[in-house]
């Protein structure tokens, strides 16, 4: 591993912890019954629509003026305090060179915060340390897919990707990633 990469990964670590604290709306959480009804289980039996050919369902009783449109959002989730505590534990383990243990912490964090780019960048960092660069590259890409319009995360992700690609001998890919980072 070259010097440049380690410093960059280190800088990334700091950035991630900062980013983890920045606020942004999380995903919409819907309790059973949409939060209006009771949450008793097992749920009441379903009301089945009458059998009809496909396409089948009759229009709902209340037709909204415009159909509810498909949902999207501009950025992924931020790390919850629980996930952040696991990421910090992983950081301590990584600093001690205990990569395998760090990865188990990060996978726990990923299960808690599966839509946060930071977790995937961290996993990438761990796999870089384990010298499994192909995996590291994939986790960086996954993190980038969740970075949304957060330019700090985007830049961190593209630079990380550039380093990993360079280390894998993919110079063109590295330059491309670097250019993406520079364009932000």
């Amino acid at each position: 591993m070259n010097m440049g990469r380690s410093t960059r990964v280190g800088a990334l670590a700091t950035l991630l912890l900062l980013a983890g604290c920045a606020g942004s709306p999380g995903s919409i959480y819907v309790p059973v019954g949409g939060g209006t009804g009771s949450t008793s289980e097992p749920p009441p039996p379903p009301r089945l629509p009458p059998a009809s050919p496909e396409p089948e369902a009759p229009a709902p009783a209340q037709v909204p003026e415009r159909a509810p449109s498909p949902s999207y959002r501009e950025s992924g989730d931020t790390l919850s305090p629980a996930a952040l505590s696991l990421v910090r534990e992983a950081d301590r383990l990584l600093a001690q060179g205990r990569v395998a243990e760090a990865i188990t912490r990060l996978e726990r964090a990923q299960r808690i915060a599966p839509r946060s780019a930071e977790v995937y960048f961290k996993l990438s960092e761990a796999y870089v340390q384990a010298n499994q660069l192909a995996r590291a590259e994939q986790f960086t890409l996954k993190g980038l897919s969740l970075a949304g319009n957060n330019t700090r995360l985007q830049r961190a992700g593209w630079l990380l990707l550039a380093d990993i690609r360079r280390a894998r001998g993919n110079v063109a890919g590295a330059d491309q990633a670097e250019a993406r980072a520079a364009a932000l």
Binding site: S27, I28, T39, P43, P49, P53, P70, L123, Q138, S145
Partner: protein, 771 residues
């Protein structure tokens, strides 16, 4: 002389000679007998030592569910938490004693026992938390190491047993509460540490004790003899058998020291039956009858287990509580007499109830379909005999709450889907995975989830019908220069003529044709003709390659009919390929196992999270838009009869000819689920994906708290207001305006203004003012 030299045999001589002959014969027979006996002893010795050595190490593997992780914001309902606690062996109590919990309304107090996970020890803790809106809030650790996140002990969901179906939890003599071996010896074998395997005197003493007590409280055979008897399942009481037992007992004592024999006895003795499995040893018996580890047992519980040695089914405390209580109190008196407990302790203990848990805290493969998949995954790395005997600990990804919801949805919905013969023939399967980890959370292999038969989730290969369409359009949308979500595609029939003269004329499900429709609507409404036209335009090979990239490993026959889903897959394979659609183009291999450790908890293998980008996230984002439209305006919208409106979902229906297969595959922000309904004989039904599989899927989704599906807009995608009929940009408040994603550069260039919607536009100008 010659005569005298050879006198005729005198009677005396004859007698002498015959006596000598007798002795010679006697010695010969004895010698042969001794040799035979020695041989027999060697034979017995070989048997007993191999049994002794072998049996001690044959321990089934244990399969655990995923542990429930508690932290602020964790999604779990109060009912689900309570069920989860029960599965993990917690009992309602004061919430202070380890293994107990208390609930008041939404607030819980939980006292964990601690557990050794592959990644380290989860310490004992006392904690409190509140469930509000199906989420954990205000989690606090009251005692024990502070942490913002706590793992409960995982529920044991099954085992992989030795072929003789014995189950045990190994204990070491130095871990056992000392009262147990002491009580055992007081009742069964007072001179265990002195005798040589047999104790003729104690037989007499036992008879005396029995007379005194007016009942049989002591048996004559030593623990060593009992152990030998236990090694052989046959209970016949012939003299030969008794003699063999005695010989083997001597041999055992000769080979091994007393502690070794005692420890093996503690792990070997038969203490009950759970279905086909036998409960062997005190370690498992303690779990089985009290739901607690041996170390936590009190005097009255130890007395009950010791008392049961005499007749585990006769004194079964669940079936014959009075008998068991009488027997236990007798043992307590014996313990008192032997000075093991004080009179006061004995009195108090005799007054206590049996303290047996209601049902075995641990039930036999409750989830046969899921365990089936776990075993297949294990078979890649482990030999069957090791799984059966090495006491491995297998940590799976099963989520009991989600499994419960999936089973409920299948069991409750399938009988309502049809009537008469078709209803009785209907079968179903369901696969649920965690959207971003690929962990298989639940698996249902048939309409009766408890039945361990044909596992349809893994083995029913059926044509997937319209489930293929997202992959056709994904292939198309990966060429933004040729296709966007508003590209008009023709819904008009055509005939394909093959070289050999055969003709193929695909049709829409309802036989109608809709002319030119925008691509997104063709997918949402699942029109067949545009899908086939688009697929043929791209080439069957291109679509097949997309499917392979997303995880199809079996060969795909590359006929045009493939574009209508003639390709067959199992529900698990469908879950695998939809994973990539749900995660913006990242193939995430499905996993059921996180870790395997040996009996001591040392890690053997880990199955880490893997992701592999197989498609452009931008193109997948467009498909996700249309798959949400399926739920809101298309063939999947009846889901919202059951599911709350706020829960945004994406999915796709699939139906094959004559309703032979009804599919639904889709996802929320957290979960991906695939449901299949059909008949094992592949017969027709009147069902479609929407009327057969979707009701199960929707029932399932509605019963779990979760996050809405709301994908992050990937790099290179921008949203625009467009008029999809005219393929043009338009104003937000125009009629027919839709806010749609485009791969940057592929958005339409021309702009249409709308004059006809003035009223709405005026209203919109004021909207901001009054909100």
């Amino acid at each position: 002389m010659a005569k005298s030299k050879t006198p005729p045999p005198s009677p005396r001589n004859a007698r002498t000679r015959s006596r000598a002959g007798f002795w010679r014969l006697f010695f010969r027979v004895s010698a042969v007998g001794l040799v035979l006996l020695a041989g027999w002893m060697v034979y017995l010795d070989a048997i007993i030592t191999s049994r002794f050595e072998g049996r001690r190490f044959e321990v089934p593997s244990r399969v655990y569910a995923r542990p429930l992780e508690l932290y602020d914001g964790a999604s779990v309902s109060a009912a689900a938490l309570e069920r989860e606690l029960a599965l993990s062996g917690f009992r309602q109590g004061d919430g202070v004693k380890p293994g107990s919990y208390r609930r008041r309304g939404g607030q819980f107090w939980i006292s964990t026992r601690g557990f050794r996970f592959p990644d380290g020890q989860e310490p004992r803790r006392r904690l409190t938390l509140t469930i509000a809106g199906d989420q954990v809030v205000d989690l606090r650790v009251l005692a024990g190491e502070a942490s913002p996140i706590v793992r409960l002990e995982p529920a044991q969901i099954g085992g992989i047993y030795p072929s003789h179906q014995e189950d045990r939890i190994l204990v070491r003599l130095d871990q056992v509460p000392p009262l147990l071996p002491a009580a055992l010896m007081a009742v069964e074998d007072r001179h265990f540490y002195e005798h040589f395997g047999l104790a003729p005197l104690s037989i007499a003493r036992a008879m005396l004790a029995n007379l005194k007590a007016g009942a049989i409280v002591q048996g004559g055979s030593t623990l060593t003899q009992q152990l030998v008897k236990n090694f052989f399942l046959s209970q016949e009481q012939t003299l030969a058998r008794k003699a063999n037992e005695a010989l083997m007992s001597l041999l055992l004592e000769w080979h091994y020291d007393k502690d070794d024999i005692l420890e093996t006895y503690l792990n070997e003795v038969y203490l009950g039956q759970a279905g086909t499995r036998s409960i062997n040893g005190f370690g498992l018996a303690s779990q089985f009858y009290f739901g607690e580890s041996l170390a936590g047992l009190e005097a009255h519980q130890i007395a009950l287990l010791v008392g049961m040695v005499k007749g585990p089914s006769y004194y079964n405390p669940r079936r014959h509580p009075e008998r068991a209580l009488k027997r236990r109190n007798l043992v307590l008196s014996e313990m008192e007499e032997a000075g093991l407990i004080s009179a006061a302790e004995a009195n108090r203990a005799r007054g206590l109830p049996l303290g047996v848990s209601e049902r075995p805290s641990y039930s036999e493969n409750r989830y046969p379909a899921y365990i089936d998949l776990v075993r297949r995954h294990l078979a890649r790395d482990y030999r069957e005999e090791d799984l059966r005997s090495e006491g491995l600990r297998i940590f799976t990804t099963l989520n009991p709450s989600i499994q419960y919801a999936a089973e409920y949805a299948v069991r409750d919905t399938v009988p309502r889907l049809a009537t008469g013969e078709v209803r009785d023939a209907l079968e179903a399967a369901m696969v649920v995975t965690a959207k971003d980890t690929g962990e298989v959370l639940a698996l249902v292999g048939g309409r009766d989830p408890a039945f361990a038969g044909f596992n349809r989730a893994l083995d029913a290969e059926r044509p997937i019908g319209s489930l293929i369409k997202p992959f056709i359009y994904l292939t198309a949308l990966s060429h933004p220069d040729r296709y966007t979500l508003i590209t008009p595609v023709r819904d008009q029939s055509f005939v394909l003529e093959f070289d050999d003269g055969r003709r193929w004329q695909p049709k829409n499900y309802d036989g109608e044709e809709h002319g030119e429709v925008p691509l997104h609507r063709a997918l949402a409404k699942s029109y067949n003709l545009p899908a086939v036209r688009t697929g043929l335009d791209l080439g069957v090979d291109a679509v097949a390659e997309t499917l392979q990239a997303f995880g199809v490993t079996s060969p795909i026959s590359r006929y045009p009919s493939m574009l209508l889903g003639s390709v067959s897959m199992t529900p698990v394979t469908v879950a695998q390929i939809y994973q990539g659609l749900a995660t913006s183009g990242f193939n995430t291999p499905l996993r059921t196992i996180r870790e395997v450790t040996d009996a001591q908890g040392e890690p053997l293998s880990r199955y880490p999270l893997e992701v592999d980008q197989v498609a452009d996230p931008a193109a997948v984002h467009l498909v996700q838009y249309a798959m949400q439209e399926v739920m809101q305006e298309g063939t999947g919208r009846s889901a919202y009869y059951t599911v709350p409106r706020q829960l945004t979902l994406a999915g796709k229906t699939g139906t094959t000819d004559d309703g032979r297969d009804a599919w639904f595959a889709g996802f929320s922000g957290d979960l991906l689920a695939v449901a299949w309904v059909g008949r094992d004989d592949n017969g027709p039904t009147s069902l479609t994906g929407a009327t057969g599989a979707l009701p199960i899927w929707a029932r399932f989704m509605a019963s779990l708290p979760q996050h809405s599906f709301s994908p992050v807009v990937p790099d290179g995608v921008s949203y625009h207001w467009v008029n999809d009929e005219r393929q043009a940009l338009t104003g937000e408040h125009c009629e027919n305006a839709r806010y749609m994603p485009f791969i940057t550069g592929s958005e339409p260039e021309q702009h249409v203004s709308c004059s006809g919607a003035l009223e709405r536009r005026i209203r919109s100008w004021f909207e901001g003012l009054f909100q």
